[in-house]
């Protein structure tokens, strides 16, 4: 078993073991053990990658290629570069944190953890696959458990939210499928064999007409899960109804699939298509950034605030990717990671607050810093990271993005960048507003009841998220280097 | 060869004096008239015969007033029927009510067309003769059903339904027993069937299975004509007159006539298929083909007499007995018999003189 296939096989084994679990205790212990091993695996992968990278300058490392359907030239083809490794680590950490946060999952615990782990399997698979077909399979595997997770364990209009989320994402994947088929049938170089392999397609020049046709399909297909405006509407509803751990995973990991897919498939394989369409999607992305920020101001529900801020932040990721230069891309990927940790942290904290106060309405909360100081303090830290305070990951990401964006030679792109930058100000407004209303000030009725301090498992979850935020913020170069190295071949391909 | 030459002579004469189209038209009309005459005469004669035979069985004299030996009795009956009022029932389905006689008469007439009276006296020597006969004889039952149904009379309806179930049931046996004989001849054309019999009547050629087939055919043929002992269709003690209860006068006469013609047809078929038709026994009059008609009629009348004999020998069957007889005895026997005959032909065990 190679180091990457383990990421698919091990979670499935965990699921099998979980099937035998009889009670909450057993289930969560098995899940915890499984996810800890996953974190171990991803950290191990990081070191193995760094070791291998120093001697090997292939685009993808640890590749493995097995023929699956030979008539379609579908392969089980996997491999990673720096970007994938970083995202894998993000995933494993968020999943582990999710298990911690769900420590008290009373209802159908076994099924809950199974769904959670199946979801993570889909995400792992997506990040490591080099075959479009395989990638698509994992993409859908990652989406479908969301239906059950939100539908069964969610709150509020959970059925509606689950249905909306699933249908929109599956609809997007359906559009994506057309795009993938388009790529596939144009992947044969001069009548050569057709292939789904990303690296091989990249070597072939897809006809420009085909690129112009299939780029938007592929792009939208992926970007919907990256909450591109106006296809973002599933996201706030989904977040609001989902249970805490699911929100974390969803915003922290699942939405990253969009950016990653856009980057790795749409833009990498169809550079001419990218150039042809980028203005259009930049407008959408920039609009999404601003729209998300302003929408967040208007919300009173904590989860909605965070959801719209996700729309805004991920809009920034797509925006940066479309800027088509190294710095912006670097920023986009760091933003992905940073947002992943940050938003997961937020959702975890919101979950904890909700558990204690039974409301997510900011206007009904106040003075929480006095009663639950640890949770409140971490919320402030997360908020500061989110609005891009230097020293935290958000700053590094947004800095890179805006620097990159302004490097773009065309004036119209710069104007768009200015608009996008202005969103930062709005971000600061809504973050500080929430902090001010909820954490400071006098205690309100919902905050009055005596509250439990953060438990050990909650703290564990929080620290898992907090450390990387600070880590990236303090020592970004280490990460940047890894990413830039991986971006290199893409730069050559696209620009 | 004299009497048979007549047709040819007439044919030649007609075509010599008239244009072709008119000639053939006239010829056809002639043929139709001849057959209609046969139809009527045979019907009248058979009715008379029936009455005389019945009387003979019951040691009475039977009709003897009208004409010499009562020969004109049925003629008088016919005229009487012609002058009777035609009544109808209220709420009857007028169209179907009037249509029904056409069915029975036409089917009987058409069946008559394929009967070979002799080598030359054969109006319609079609290559699927027997098949045609089976087909056309099943049309008659539609007339009966229509008549019964459209009369708006319960007796008529019940009679018709009984007739339907009986006729279709026994039709199977008729068909199968004829098919059994076709296996020997390998042809459906009646003239060819007779040709084959020049080396021995089929009942002799096929010996045991042929005898079985003959018996089955006579039984089911009797049943198909709704004659006693299979006449619960018109069981007067139960149903008035059965399906034609509401028919009067001439319309009643059609059914009556058709029934007797059908009896003649059944006998004629049996005579043709089993007893060599117009062939003389052992070829004794082979040199005089004019006697063909005589032999044919002789055999047919013998079989008609047999059917009349049945009537005064067996009691009427109940409907369940009737169906049991067909479905549980005749049909399985027939199927086995068919296989037996096939085996016989395959192994070449048929008798040839």
């Amino acid at each position: 078993m190679d180091i990457l296939s383990l990421f698919i096989v091990f979670p499935l084994l965990t699921v099998l073991v979980l099937l035998g679990a009889k009670s909450l205790k057993q289930a969560r212990l098995i899940a915890l053990a499984g996810t800890i091993v996953q974190v171990g695996m991803s950290v191990n992968l990081l070191f193995a990658y760094l070791r291998e990278r120093s001697v090997n300058d292939e685009i993808m490392l640890f590749t493995r290629d097995l023929v699956w359907f030979k008539d379609f030239n579908i392969h089980y083809s996997i491999g990673v570069d720096g970007i994938s490794v970083a995202l894998l680590i993000l995933t494993s950490l968020v999943v582990l944190a999710g298990v911690f946060i769900s420590w008290k999952m009373e209802e159908l615990p076994r099924e809950f953890f199974i769904s959670l782990i199946v979801l993570s399997t889909g995400v792992y698979g997506f990040f490591i696959s080099l075959d479009l077909f395989l990638m698509f399979v994992f993409f859908e595997i990652a989406v479908i458990p969301m239906f059950l997770l939100i539908g069964i364990w969610g709150s509020g209009p959970r059925e509606y939210a689950a249905m909306k989320l699933t249908l929109m994402l599956m609809g997007a994947s359906a559009i994506l499928l057309v795009g993938i088929l388009g790529i596939y049938f144009n992947s044969g170089a001069d009548g050569g064999p057709l292939t789904f392999n990303i690296l091989e397609i990249a070597k072939v020049q897809i006809p420009v007409e085909a690129q112009k046709l299939f780029f938007p399909l592929t792009f939208i297909g992926f970007a919907v899960i990256g909450a591109l405006f106006p296809f973002h509407t599933w996201s706030p509803d989904g977040h609001a109804s989902a249970p805490t751990a699911v929100s974390m995973l969803h915003a922290g990991v699942l939405m990253k699939l969009g950016g990653y897919g856009v980057f790795r498939v749409a833009m990498y394989l169809m550079p001419e298509g990218t150039l042809h369409w980028s203005w259009f999607f930049i407008v959408l992305a920039a609009f999404g950034v601003i729209y998300g920020a302003f929408a967040a101001i208007r919300q009173t529900d904590l989860k909605y605030i965070n959801a719209y801020s996700s729309v805004s932040h991920l809009g920034l990721v797509l925006f940066a990717l479309l800027m088509l230069n190294k710095t912006a891309w670097n920023g986009a990927i760091i933003q992905s990671l940073s947002h992943g940790f940050m938003t997961a942290l937020f959702f975890a904290l919101i979950g904890m607050i909700y558990e204690r106060t039974h409301t997510r309405d900011v206007t009904r909360l106040g003075g929480l810093l006095k009663v639950i100081p640890f949770i409140s303090a971490t919320y402030v830290i997360g908020g500061l990271a989110s609005l891009g305070l230097p020293g935290f990951s958000g700053f590094v990401a947004e800095m890179n993005i805006f620097v990159g964006a302004f490097q773009h030679p065309e004036i119209s792109y710069r104007i768009a960048s200015i608009f996008a930058v202005s969103a930062i100000v709005v971000t600061a407004v809504y973050i500080l507003r929430v902090v001010g209303m909820m954490l400071m000030g006098p205690l309100k009725e919902n905050s009055l009841t005596p509250m439990e301090r953060a438990t050990w498992y909650e703290k564990a979850g929080i620290f898992l998220m907090l450390l990387p935020i600070i880590g990236i913020g303090v020592a970004p170069l280490w990460l940047s280097e890894m990413i830039l190295q991986s971006i290199q071949p893409f730069i050559q391909g696209v620009l | 060869m004299m009497p048979l030459r007549i047709t040819e002579n007439i044919h030649n004469w007609l075509f010599s004096v008239m244009p072709e189209g008119v000639a053939s038209l006239v010829e056809m009309t002639l043929i139709a008239v001849v057959y209609l005459t046969i139809f009527a005469v045979a019907g009248l004669f058979l009715v008379l015969l029936e009455r005389r035979v019945a009387a003979w069985f019951q040691l009475r004299i039977g009709p003897n007033r009208v004409g010499p030996q009562g020969l004109l009795q049925t003629m008088a009956d016919a005229i009487k029927l012609l002058t009777k009022e035609l009544t109808g029932t209220e709420k009857a389905d007028k169209f179907l009510y009037n249509l029904a006689p056409y069915f029975v008469i036409i089917s009987a007439l058409m069946a008559l067309a394929v009967i070979p009276f002799s080598a030359e006296f054969h109006a319609f020597d079609i290559n699927i003769g027997i098949f045609f006969l089976i087909a056309i004889s099943s049309i008659g039952v539609i007339g009966i059903l229509l008549g019964g149904w459209s009369s708006n009379n319960k007796y008529a309806l019940i009679g018709a339904m009984r007739s339907g179930v009986q006729t279709i049931s026994y039709e199977l046996s008729v068909g199968l027993s004829l098919l059994t004989m076709v296996v020997i001849t390998g042809s459906l054309q009646l003239s060819e069937i007779i040709e084959v019999q020049k080396s021995g009547w089929l009942i002799l050629q096929g010996h045991i299975p042929a005898a079985i087939a003959f018996m089955v055919f006579m039984i089911s043929g009797t049943a198909e004509t709704n004659r006693a002992p299979f006449d619960m269709v018109e069981a007067e003690s139960e149903l008035g007159a059965g399906f034609h209860t509401e028919y009067s006068g001439m319309k009643f006469a059609y059914f009556f006539l058709a029934e007797f013609i059908n009896m003649f047809i059944i006998s004629a078929i049996a005579a043709t298929v089993f007893f060599g038709g117009w062939l003389s026994p052992f070829g004794i009059t082979e040199s005089i083909p004019e006697l063909g008609v005589f032999w044919f009629l002789l055999k047919t009348m013998a079989l008609v007499f047999l059917m009349m004999w049945f009537r005064w020998t067996f009691p009427r069957l109940r409907v369940d007995q009737l169906l049991t007889l067909e479905w549980k005895y005749l049909l399985p026997i027939n199927l086995v018999n068919l296989v037996l005959m096939a085996l016989l032909v395959w192994l070449n065990l048929t008798l040839r003189l």
Binding site: D71, F147, L148, E159, M163, L167, G171, A174, V178 | -
Partner: protein, 475 residues
Amino acid sequence: MDMETLLLLRQEVSLLLIALVLLLFEIFANDRNRAGVVSLAIVLFGLHTALGFMDMKEGELFGGMFRTNALIHMFKNILNLGVLIVLLQSAEWVKKELIPQNRGTEFFILMLSSLLGLQFLISSGDFLMFYLGLELSTLPLAALAAFEIYRMRSSEAGIKLILSSALASGITLFGISLLYASSGSIYYAELQGAISENPLTVLAMILFFAGLGFKISLVPFHFWTADVYEGAPIGIASYLSVISKGAAIFILMILFFTVLKPLMHLWENLFYLLSVLTMFLGNLFALRQQNMKRFLAFSSIAQAGFILLGLITGTTLGVATVIYFILIYIFSNLAAFGVVQAISTETGKEQLQDYEGLYRTNPKLSLVMMLGLFSLAGIPPVAGFFGKFFLFTAAASKGYYFLVFLAVVNVTISLYYYLLVVRAMFLRKSEHPIPYFTNTVYMRIGLVITVIGILALGLYSPIYDYIYALSSTLN
């Protein structure tokens, strides 16, 4: 009538023998041992299915009326397997409903006769055999649809099925006669070179298509589908939805890809149109169904629309993907129907709302149902996804990207109503859920086979490779 002939006819002869054995059993059975027919039939048919996997030679019989080759043989095995599952799933119903009425054997005999018809249909080498197969497969089904004689709806289903099928086959017949008029033969082999485009042939083709379109329940001929599925016993509905539909598609494919190939530029457009109509209509009507059987009926109409995507290609790829899809579709749909059957037999409940909270009382059944529905919807990693993906690939290989786009839109619509069922089973809680019950051995085996099929068919690629290798023999 030598041994070799018999070996070519092996499948059909063995089916016929089973039917006759069952008939004999029925003739000599008494009230005490009558229930034994269920086991007898299933065991015999299981043997038949197993023996079917032996190799078979290629050949023709009756002067080309009947022909068989590896591809046809394989498809017969697929049908056998499907029917075996149907029989297993219906066993309990037969025992409960039919045996006391003394009508158990007939169910099996009619079912096997219908299968026999289908096998002749797909083995046909001329239109006479084709027509006979078509009718032999439909008529017993009409009898079966009306089998619950004490239920009005069953009779209604029966009469609707028989009348509309007779209409369709009549139209087909007329089409065949015109085809015969234009080319002078009813043998496929002789027709193959003789077809040329002229108005008569085109008319003939369109009329001919009607009968098969009816069996596949494509849109202008779909009216019977929902009513029949709802009224008929569930086993029959599932048979109609997968087995007879699959066989009809198979023979349609053979005919259009070989005999009617010269008219391809015409039927391409026909299929295109019908595919779009069928998908949309099936899906839109399925959205509003509350009865599980009706719901599955419309879903199966929609699935037929998807299958046309593969038929439109006229290539080996199309053949392989269509057969592969049918195979998967058999397992998926039978899984769904199996659960409906199990629940209906046990409790008599067939409405969607009855399924609320099913997971909490009958988790295994609802998991099977979920797998089946996900497979129908085409969600990885279950087999249905692979089937659909390959079908779309086949269509895209001919450049029908827009059609594929419409199809994926429909996949999304269909996902909605499949999720409605999942929602009822998993998300909802009910005041009166269906109580826990255990299934009989037969039903379990029937469901387990479908689950294995659903899980294995997609991930285990040699099956597809095998089908593809055989498909290349068609053209």
